[in-house]
Amino acid sequence: MIACTGLTKVYRTRDGGEAGIRDVSMEARGGEWVLVRGPSGCGKSTLLLALGGMLRPDGGEVRLGGLDVYGMGPAERARLRAGSVGFVFQLFHLVPYLTVRENVMCGALDGGVAARGRAEALIEELGLGGRREALPGTLSAGEKQRTALARALVGGPMVLLADEPTGNLDPGHSRVVYERMARFRKDGGAVVMVTHGADANGFATRIVEARGTGAPFGFGVAANGTRHGGGL
């Protein structure tokens, strides 16, 4: 469903070094939950942004539903993102002047009645019912994160890309989030989640470990925790 081959995005750092990702290949099919794990700064967010069609890589290819994501024009790519990708940002990135409900609705381009129904359902499921008219500035980090997840799911994407989606949640709320993501996977969606924690291990169908700690580097791929040699 979503796959990358030889994905490379290298940042030059101030001191002349390099950071980012180099030659990463991986895949997540429908019904799969791929967990990408690695230490802070190893390039997880970079990988996820590139997968989501938001960061043009220096090299390699991303395919989403068979389409070459960076082979198309920006407008087409935007449409692809709107229709097929749900993204939970590490820093949430909610629109500051819109309420929880409106922020969730931002994820549905059409904004129709069906989307409104889905938004309400997601708000309830994720325990945001009491905060639906609150502005992001008044939300706790956990509430922001759940709002961001609801926004990612409301458009009915094929792929969910989640960057530390439970980084600020207590175990109880983490569970709510993971269960909602698991349902998305069971409904046929593909999940790629990046984290440096281990609490989602039980939900993942596959775990990809960063191959090393020096940046930039690729990712080794492990199925259910078993390390594989090359990229997928």
Partner: protein
């Protein structure tokens, strides 16, 4: 959420930026409106003051001896009275000169006193020019006496003077001028002609520089050309001091406007531009989010366009109202003579209503379009 709903919500959320932008725009617009109104008033005032200074052009017979002219204060030769009508009909005359007034002047003796009899004909004004007479006219059978003449003859306004076998009604005694005008007796041209036995003749055509042309267009040269064509028997003298005073007054107000307008534009433009830039910069992550969620570049740009339009319209309205109010309040104080007729300049209002939002839109669309064109991940990086 509808597009305009988003625009209004954002404006409310970042109200300080919005308020400052409206403030900058309305102060700029207001100052431009006031400046423009005052410039119009200044122009009108200059003309009025210039007109009140009197005729500054004297068109006299070509064969006049200039020494004699200055000795007498008038030409001792004459032109036919119809010369003024002929000059008026000549092409190019009214481009720069107006109020052609046929005049007949002669020194005579009235009851043993020297009097400068001045007969004034009806002024011929340019097409479209108000028919208001320059200075004054005197009806047949009436006389307006200079201060010294009235004293010497011992007459007052409302009295009569026996003059060349006629009883003339003293319409008015003019205020003391301290010039040869104190020795004048103004009568109608017809009366002067019959008194002096110069029927159908005039000694000069007085005219006024209408200030329609700037000095670089050489208004006097144009009049000389017209004269040479239609009235070759005449020459023109210009009262330089008066002409210079007019030109200087006019230039002073023009220069002020020429300096103040770009300064206001620059300051208000920079102010608005900086605020728009700051707004876009603050909203870069938001732009990234909209783009990441798949909203089209046009749709995202439209948010900034909409914001700019709201601010621009608000600035234009507030500025136009404040500027007009200021112009109407201070105009009459600065220009007491013509301030009363200062009115709202609707053409200027239309320009303001169009340009202010357009400018505000430009100021934010450029940085917004640049941000929109970037990869969402780039835009999302805040610091």
């Amino acid at each position: 959420m509808s597009w305009h709903g988003l625009v209004l919500r954002e404006l409310r959320h970042r109200w300080a930026n919005a308020a400052l932008a409206v403030l900058g725009l309305s102060v700029g617009v207001g100052m431009l409106v006031t400046l423009q109104m005052l410039a119009t008033a200044a122009e009108r005032e200059t003309r009025r003051v210039a007109r009140d200074m009197g005729f500054n052009l004297r068109i006299i017979p070509r064969d006049t001896d200039i020494g004699r002219f200055h000795e007498l204060g008038h030409s001792d030769r004459t032109l036919p009275e119809e010369a003024s009508a002929r000059l008026a009909a000549g092409a190019g005359t009214f481009v720069s000169f107006n109020h052609l007034t046929p005049t007949l002047e002669r020194w005579t003796n009235v009851l043993g006193k020297d009097v400068l009899v001045t007969g004034l004909g009806a002024a011929i004004t340019g097409p479209g020019e108000k028919k208001s007479p320059m200075g004054f006219t005197v009806g047949n059978g009436n006389v307006q006496l200079g201060h010294a003449v009235a004293r010497r003859l011992g007459v007052k306004a409302g009295g009569t003077v026996e003059w060349m076998g006629r009883g003339m009604r003293v319409e008015k005694v003019l205020a003391e001028a301290g010039t040869v005008d104190d020795l004048r007796a103004y009568v109608s041209l017809a009366d002067a002609q019959s008194m002096l036995g110069l029927g159908g003749r005039i000694s000069e055509i007085r005219a006024i520089d209408c200030l329609c042309l700037t000095a670089d267009k050489d208004p006097l040269g144009q009049l000389r050309e017209a004269l040479a064509r239609v009235l070759p028997e005449a020459q023109v003298l210009q009262l330089r001091v008066m002409a210079d005073a007019r030109a200087k007054q006019r230039q002073a107000s023009e220069r002020f406007a020429a300096l103040a307008t770009p300064m206001v534009l620059l300051v208000a433009g920079a102010w608005t531009g900086v605020l728009a830039f700051l707004n876009v910069r603050e909203r870069r992550p938001e732009i990234g989010v909209w783009r990441a969620l798949g909203h089209g570049a046009g749709r995202v740009s439209a948010l900034f366009l909409g914001r700019a339009l709201v601010l621009g319209v608000a600035g234009a309205v507030v500025g136009a109202v404040l500027g007009t109010w200021a112009g109407l309040t201070w105009g009459p104080w600065m220009y007491p003579v013509t301030g009363g007729v200062i009115g709202v300049d609707w053409a200027l209002m239309a320009r303001v209503a169009w340009w202010t939002p357009a400018f505000a839109a430009m100021a934010s669309l450029v940085p917004a379009a640049l941000a929109v064109a970037q990869d969402p991940a780039e835009t999302l990086r805040t610091d």
